[in-house]
């Protein structure tokens, strides 16, 4: 380990004080040394480095710092030390390295203003994106041979088929929870038998589609944003445009169609599996035989409950895919942006889905599908 730096104060004949430094003047020992030097009384006439064995830029900086503080000269520096002193002497002493921080009364309006302008350009961007998709769809209708069928099938597999296990498991568990918790509450009114109505109606009308939409947003919406965002960063999308291929046609439209269509199937599948979960609870805990439970559902659930779910599903799928693709194509600059946009895609998709679901609930009740 390095030998610590030392200092001594020597009175010279002319009435000034000479600071004599010795030993190792390097980063490893500078911490305690700085505190010791801070306490020395002024004024100093000269700093003598003749006895310094080793010095690095930090040591040189320290020497310059004392020299500046006491306005004194430096003598006895060896060539190596002299070189280091010359290298660091010119820089003005400041410990200002943090980001620039503005006062609150400036920061808040600036942040608000930025948000407002971002919202404005965001709305313009979404409208523009819709327009691009409509144009792309129109041109595909005119040239049906260009339709990216392969990409569509591939996306349908990714969004739909490979989501079956996780959505099935989730729905089964939700069915179980609803049946079990619902029966505990209904028991208090002696209405355990109504558990069948509860499970059947809530899964078909609300939860099946809603939970599936949230799952698809997390699985596929995020994947869309990350894929397109990365393609944007690696200039793949620019390359497509240069060749004359529309990224909207080959990337966005297959994803949107796949998500919209598969959402209908997944939503229905989810509702069915949830009802099976409820029926299992009915069989095990409530004494309603499995097949009786399912047969009762047919009697107590009106057909329009199925339509409510099936009408909402494609809308949710569309929202999730639009949010994913739009945010992916908005990526600019660096990889951090991909993460930010992916998060934004999922959050805005789930938020929009839940808001729309509330509107749908009111709407369907008003038209008599209560």
């Amino acid at each position: 380990m390095e030998e610590a730096a030392q200092y001594s104060l020597v009175e010279d004949g002319a009435g000034g004080t000479r600071l004599v430094l010795s030993g190792q003047l390097v980063l490893a020992v500078i911490g305690p040394f700085e505190r010791a030097l801070g306490a020395i009384p002024g004024p100093l006439a000269v700093i003598d480095l003749a006895a310094v064995e080793d010095i690095d830029t930090v040591g040189a900086w320290m020497v310059c710092r004392i020299a500046r503080q006491h306005q004194c000269d430096i003598t006895g520096a060896k060539p190596a030390a002299e070189r280091l002193l010359a290298a660091v002497r010119g820089f003005d002493p400041s410990s200002d390295i943090g980001p620039e921080i503005r006062p609150v009364w400036e920061r808040v309006p600036v942040a608000v203003g930025k948000q407002v302008f971002a919202a404005r350009s965001g709305i313009a961007g979404v409208v523009g994106f819709f327009g691009q998709i409509l144009l792309g769809a129109a041109s595909l209708l005119r040239h049906p041979l260009r339709f990216p069928l392969k990409a569509l099938v591939h996306q349908m597999e990714l969004v739909g088929v490979s989501a079956l296990p996780i959505i099935g498991l989730m729905s089964f568990l939700i069915g179980i929870v609803i049946a079990q918790q619902g029966s505990v509450q209904l028991e208090q009114f002696g209405a355990e038998a109504l558990t069948v109505n509860l499970v059947g109606r809530i899964t078909l009308r609300e939860l099946g589609v809603l939970m599936t939409a949230i799952m698809v947003a997390g699985r596929s919406g995020s994947a869309f944003a990350a894929q397109l965002g990365t393609m944007k960063l690696t200039e793949e999308i620019d390359a497509m445009r240069t060749i004359g291929i529309s990224p909207i046609e080959v990337l966005v439209i297959p994803r949107i169609l796949a998500a919209t269509f598969m959402m209908v199937l997944l939503g229905f599948y989810s509702s069915v599996v949830a009802m099976v979960g409820g029926a299992v609870v009915g069989d095990v805990a409530l004494g309603i035989p499995f097949w009786t439970f399912l047969a009762r559902i047919q009697e107590v659930v009106p057909t329009y409950d199925l339509w409510v779910g099936l009408i909402k599903a494609p809308v949710f799928g569309l929202i999730v895919a639009l949010a994913g693709c739009y945010n992916g194509l908005q990526v600019r600059g660096n990889s951090e942006e991909v993460g930010r946009r992916t998060t934004m895609a999922v959050v805005s998709a789930i938020f929009a889905v839940i808001v729309l679901d509330a509107f749908f609930a009111v709407f369907f009740t008003e038209i008599g599908w209560a």
């Binding site: 390097v26 911490g31 305690p32 070189r83 820089f91 390295i97 620039e100």
Partner: protein
């Protein structure tokens, strides 16, 4: 030993013996030997995918070699956990290809990270002062100190990365393609900066590069990686004299000749 003039008989800074690196069945290095002398700038060249970066990663402990022995600054680092405090990490600095700056910290704070970790007894003001002059030492303007990496250009990021590599006053500096992606003026300036810092601070520099101008202008010796090992080390005339076909093509190709001609003009 910072700031000293080095004599050639001092012990070498890096000694590599019989190094082997494999990824699965793909062999990157086999029986690779290399010695880096104190106080020199050693350029490392080789074709794309020849394992230059893997070699550097092996030396700095990011890649565990399949076989062989690596001594850095007098310590054996193969088979040793670098986190266990053998203290060699604080004696080297590394500049990664893209700068690899921490994006959530300002440039100055980036430099401060290592100081904070290894020397917690420094007063915050002195630590920040040190970080600041290190940034200025690499030729960045004062306004860059408090900026975030995303606000800097590519060349400025490299300088900021260099400042971070210099944070602990290292004896040994690793530079991975420092001039890649810089315009010729920026690249020449960076070369000059590397040489000036090496002379002022008494550094040893391990420099991976594709830039022939860098090799001619600032490298004391050049090591050539090919066929999974170092096929030759020496000054550029010595390398050309070996007559190896790859080296021949590398230095006597059109780019090599142009760099040589530029170097000769500079000498005059």
């Amino acid at each position: 030993m910072t700031g000293h003039i080095h004599s050639p008989d001092e012990p070498p800074v890096i000694v590599i013996e019989g190094l082997a690196n494999r990824f699965g069945s793909f062999v990157v290095h086999e029986d690779l030997d290399l010695t880096v002398r104190r106080g020199e700038i050693l350029g490392v060249v080789g074709g794309s995918g020849s394992g230059k970066s893997v070699l550097m990663r092996s030396i700095i402990g990011l890649q565990r070699p399949a076989a062989g022995r690596i001594d850095v600054l007098g310590r054996t680092i193969t088979g040793v956990d670098l986190d266990s405090g053998i203290g060699v990490r604080r004696r080297w600095g590394v500049l990664f290809q893209g700068g690899a700056l921490f994006s959530t910290l300002t440039v100055g704070e980036n430099v401060e990270v290592a100081l904070r970790k290894y020397y917690p007894d420094l007063s915050p003001e002195l630590r920040a002062e040190i970080a600041r002059y290190k940034v200025l030492l690499t030729g960045l303007p004062e306004s860059a100190v408090a900026k975030y990496p995303s606000e800097l250009s590519g060349g400025m990021k490299k300088r900021a990365g260099l400042a971070r590599a210099l944070a602990l006053d290292p004896e040994l500096l690793f530079l991975d393609e420092p001039t890649a992606g810089l315009d010729p003026i920026g690249a020449a300036n960076f070369d000059r900066l590397t040489r000036d810092l090496k002379e002022t601070l008494g550094l040893t520099v391990f420099l991976i590069t594709h830039d022939l101008d860098t090799l001619y202008e600032i490298c004391d010796r050049v090591a050539v990686i090919a066929e999974k090992r170092i096929i030759a080390v020496g000054t550029i005339p010595e390398l050309i004299a070996t007559g190896h076909p790859w080296i021949e093509e590398y230095f006597n190709g059109p780019r090599g000749r142009a760099a040589h001609a530029a170097h000769m003009r500079g000498e005059k």
